[in-house]
Amino acid sequence: MHNQTEIEQTLALWRSHWKQAKLEWNPLLRLQEPIWCLSHQDAKKEGLSGSFAMIRLTDHRIVINLEEIVERGISDYAIEILAHEIGHHIFTPANLYDNAILLNRIRFALPGIEDRAPMVSNLYADFLINDKLQRINKLRMSKVYQAINSEDNFSEFWTLMMRTYEYLWRLNRGELATNLSFHSKKIDADASLLASLVRSYSKNWIHGGGRFAVMVYPYLMDDKTFQDARKKILILLDAEDAGVGAMDISGMTELDLEGYDEIIDMRKEALGLLEDEGDKSDSLGSEKNKLGGQGPKNGYMGPGNYIDLMKQVNPKADEQRLINAYYKEIALPHLIDFPVEISENVSLDLPEGLETWDIGDPIEEVDWLQSAILSPALIPGLTTQKRTYGSDSDNAISESPLNVYIGIDCSGSMMNPKQNFSWPVLAATVIGLSALRAGASVMGCLSGEPGDYLETDGFITDETDLLTTLTSYLGTGYAYGIERLRKPFEQESTKKSHIVIVTDNDIFSMLDSDTQTKQTHWELAELALKNAGGHGTMVLHSHPDYNKDFVIRLKKMGWKVYYVTNETELLKFASEFSQQNYAYV
């Protein structure tokens, strides 16, 4: 524990430099003063551990651990450190979206070791900020590193970082990379390339992240080396968790093709070994999906990848919330438009009651008789009355959307929507959200039976509950359980509903299975459709000529059968269904 007076003196000194630090970037910059932590405990409470400073993009704050600063002997570099932290806020990564984009691009370049992306992203941003502050603003960034560096700090990776700064700032060998035992020709060559990368991409930094990550890949690929290197540079990681607590960041599900094309190995580039565009095979083994991605038009990243990325942006993010956001974002372009209310002029000739006439109301609206009955003294706005009228129109057609029941086969043959893109879940999301948008209620049910099922609490209008049900996974049994129709449709409901069941040929085995009651599944399916009152559609992932007799039997009951031979057709079905049933409202 350092002398409290020394810490308080440091606080006063650093506070006095805050304005100057902001001026290093922009005289008009408005940023709250940092959260000054006088002890390690205070810093920990703010989420700062391991380093002496950090930024939070969620509330645009900087947190400074003054005790750590005093311990490290870097109290004299207030402007340098504060300006550096401000740089993270206004230069790179600057905001949550750009932070997520950069992380995604860096992840592309670190196949198999994507968990290291936040650290790499932090170090890349540090290079860009420090180079600007040292060369353009003439701040003493190199001195800060000299003060922080100690002999046992060094690893091969850290030597690479320090040698890169030496190249960038034309320093002599060993001025920053003080432990000469780690120096090698290989590090020199890589540092020289990294230095030119930092210079070249200082204005378009988001495009250099991939190249940077490829360069440092060999230094981080071994787990033990990485852990060792990480421990030593933890002190400098001030933006690794910048997105903690961030809400959903939209626009991240789409595949970043531009970012993928920027995953270039600069060593290869320098050796003149880059292939033609048409024959791009990644030397790092990052496998680009030949179809270009997953989901509609193969234009989206996989759900597993999305969750991993977003958990790196915000380590506290809830997985279920992320998967809901993933399918919702992909479904959005396929939803019905928001319904427009069309109001008609109605006649006002049915007296309905009285209310106070106020001074702002038209004088002709005063009901003198009723006002006199209320009080012989007429006091405007107090005893004056006016009559209210209602419509006498009874011929207007009111169209209200039918509810929808969405049953999804979630048996062993279905893929986990958290790990692999699921077309049935996307289709259900499109129908469910379209129905909610039109004002209907939705009941979702996942069923993999015999085994398990998961359903919403009846017909609901809560989007989160619905998506949470639809994006869950069971992986039990062999088909959708017809028995699930009993609860909502055993009795005729007051509000009519559509029924949509997404399943495959195994549903016929389920329909034919022994119920050990008098009522067969076939009868239950017929009863449910009758009681629902709307359309019943069985979406079958099957060829039209399979199980013809069963299909005819279903059709005779009134069920519509929609065949999909390819899962992508599910989206077409969902869009058409939503347009037909909910776009008119």
């Binding site: 198999g112 060998r173 020709k185 020289s192 030119s196 060593r267």
Partner: protein, 193 residues
């Protein structure tokens, strides 16, 4: 002004007029007379304008010098026009090695424009010239100068990059093969089920 200050020489080099970037007349008819430029530089360096015999490649070997190399020589001739090199007879017999051996190798990896546009490459040319001429830059000792040249050397860097790239490729190939093997085994597991 101090003599052989690297920063000053780099600044001079980066001001190289466009005319020096033209191709050689040995490559294109309209180009610069490279031989005349080389001979004039010899004369300026040794301060003997009547001298007629200079060390240069044979006509046969001249034909093998590529366009990129010639233009690098032109740029270096501009560098040698700096007053530090005028009347420095001691370096006269070192220039052949610089132009036709060291610069020849470096030109394999550096495009001629980079000698001017890229800070590092400009410094490399300056340091390469000083090294060939056995001149120690101002404010440095022999070891520092050698180390700085070595950390900038495109030729060295290329060799190291090639080695490290090949080593990295070998590791990645092994990783890929292991991943494929694992995937095949996983596929077989499902097959058995």
């Amino acid at each position: 002004m101090s003599k052989y200050d690297v920063f000053e020489l780099v600044t001079h080099l980066r001001k190289c007029p466009d005319i020096y970037l033209e191709p050689s007349s040995l490559i294109e008819n309209e180009g610069l007379n490279s031989i005349a430029l080389v001979c004039d530089t010899y004369r300026i360096v040794c301060n003997d304008f009547l001298k007629k015999e200079f060390k240069k490649p044979s006509d046969f070997n001249l034909a093998y010098i590529g366009d990129n190399h010639w233009r690098a020589i032109h740029i270096s001739i501009w560098l040698l026009s700096h007053r530090n090199f005028i009347n420095s007879a001691l370096i006269e017999d070192k220039l052949y090695n610089f132009w036709f051996e060291e610069l020849s190798e470096a030109s394999l990896y550096v495009k001629f424009k980079e000698w001017i546009s890229d800070d590092e490459r400009a410094e490399e040319m300056v340091r390469l010239l000083l090294d060939c001429c056995e001149i120690i830059p101002d404010g440095e000792n022999q070891d520092e100068a050698a180390d700085k040249l070595s950390s900038l050397s495109s030729t060295d860097r290329q060799k190291v990059l090639k080695q490290s790239y090949e080593a990295h490729e070998r590791i990645m190939n092994i990783k890929r093969e292991m991943a494929e093997k694992k995937a095949r085994e996983a596929a077989n597991t499902y097959g058995r089920e």
